[in-house]
Symmetry: C2
Subunit: 337 residues, 2 copies
Amino acid sequence: MKKKATILDVARKANVSSATVSRVVNAQGGVKPETEARIIKAIEELSYVRNAIARSMVRKETKTIGVIVPDITNPFFSQVISGVEEAAIQAGFFPIVTSTREDLLLEQQILTHYLERGIDGLIITTAQENGTHLNEFMKSSIPVVAVDRPLKQYDVDTVLSGNREGAFEAVSHLIEEGFKDIAIIRGPQNTTPGLERYKGYVKALEANGIPVQPDFVCDGDFMQGSGYEQVKNLYSQKRKPDAVFSSNNFMSLGAIRAMRELDWKIGRDIGFAGFDDIEVATFMEPALTVVSRRMKHLGAIAFQYLENRMEKKGESAKREYILSPSLVIRDSSKRLR
Amino acid sequence: MKKKATILDVARKANVSSATVSRVVNAQGGVKPETEARIIKAIEELSYVRNAIARSMVRKETKTIGVIVPDITNPFFSQVISGVEEAAIQAGFFPIVTSTREDLLLEQQILTHYLERGIDGLIITTAQENGTHLNEFMKSSIPVVAVDRPLKQYDVDTVLSGNREGAFEAVSHLIEEGFKDIAIIRGPQNTTPGLERYKGYVKALEANGIPVQPDFVCDGDFMQGSGYEQVKNLYSQKRKPDAVFSSNNFMSLGAIRAMRELDWKIGRDIGFAGFDDIEVATFMEPALTVVSRRMKHLGAIAFQYLENRMEKKGESAKREYILSPSLVIRDSSKRLR
DNA sequence: CTTTAAAATGTAAACGTTTAGATTAAGCGC
DNA sequence: GCGCTTAATCTAAACGTTTACATTTTAAAG
């Protein structure tokens, strides 16, 4: 393949200067129709395509935004990404998404890459909320919005969901249904979702005069394995809970798996509710009661905030958006017969 | 924030020329240790970070690869992506992933964007195998590898899974189990996976002397809705199948949903097997028998092929890799009692 | 046919690197 | 101290755009 045609090649062929070509390529107007026609013809004949790299170089903007999530494989994040993507492309920005697999080092690498490569904005769900690994990036003054996990120490916008509120609703619902000994599988307590959901749990119990049983508070890491283990744990205790609330979708899966193995039957022996919906939930028997979030919407909002920040560069509003989740009641939380 | 420091700022501060700084930044050696120390100090003080855009401009390579999938939300693709990502980053390349939502127009837009922006290679599962929308991109001579859906008309490497083979195995298994009237929910017949899996189905029937019943061949579009509808269809026929083979994970989900609604019970009234595993499958009761593929591996291989092509630019080997799937037998295909 | 304003086009300097090729410095044997 | 070789460093030209600013062309007005 012959080398790519440049704007100069086009200019020569159309007998004009590069400036004029640039003007038509960018649809800036102010060029005589017949000249324009000539240029367009030349562009087609040479199958010229403008070099965005050179363009970015002088423009000092890339029309590109970075998106960092911990796990692209988690339906929650892939939905959020999908929402961001749609909004961004719509607005003429191109999202570059990468997944950190919850690896801090990798996150840092990616950040550095973004810094070198140049992005106009960043949407991030960090692997660690309180790390210092973001410091370097933050120096760049590139607009950032944090999704799902806030970055309190920095001046960034934040898009969250009502974690506490959602958990509160779910647990309250369990209580209403008549469950009393409700265990929770928590997420990491150094993450906002983990902590806040736990708080919601506590609040719901307290509001109903039920003391928090330390034995019923189990720690997980948002991964399937921990949900599994903790249920096995709970089952081995002398006093077993009569319901379980799991703090995220993956742990719910693990929990259910364990219950199956133990023949600890939902609907007969135990009630269940979890945070975050997941396809599976509707296919289980019984179907799972979950706190559900409009994930694509979350992504769209995140982009909207980012765009806003990118437009008015200097100003730092530090906005926060909290999307209320909704409780989807299915069979797993029905009172035991 | 003050503007970014450039290599020249560093050079001035360290009292050397930009060339020398470049050498240390790129670790090319040939610079006196004490000079290097001075430069590194300057870099840190100015918190200089090299501008990849300018770099790409002169180097004419971006160390970036494009990845296009139809649906990032489909676990199959997010796993493949994950595999590509890991391999790419490992090799010093940065993947830029975008999802087309099976939209041809969007795919074209993305391609154009890639062309402008410059990528060193492309991994693609196209939304339409026989479109002409790839022509423009192909002119660029950027290496391409097709995943899951081949691009026969072009000179590209291909990474596939044994579609026919997998379907053949699954259907044969159903037959062995004693099912006779096996229906298939096909994928689009203008896509390789859709067509090939159907062929596998036919082959398995024929190998066992079972005629293909036109009434048992249903057309779907790989989306949940079509699986759902086709099962309802099948159920309404005078002569119902005693087993269903679904051509992909999403349609399986829809199919199962319909069966539930109809109280057409797997294990009692009907047998089931599907192509592609999905988390859900193991959580269903009964658990689903599926053709499973090592998706991350598929992604890793794809990158490997791409890297190979990127290295030796000119040569066009046109290689093809076919990953054999494996049949995971669970309860849904058990002989009816 | 001038004059003058507006429209169209051209010129050339940036943008921040990399990299041949040129130049200078350093080290060594005598 | 003089060549000579090798190491270290520098110079300056790319790379392909965009864009102020300058220049030319065109059209309208007189």
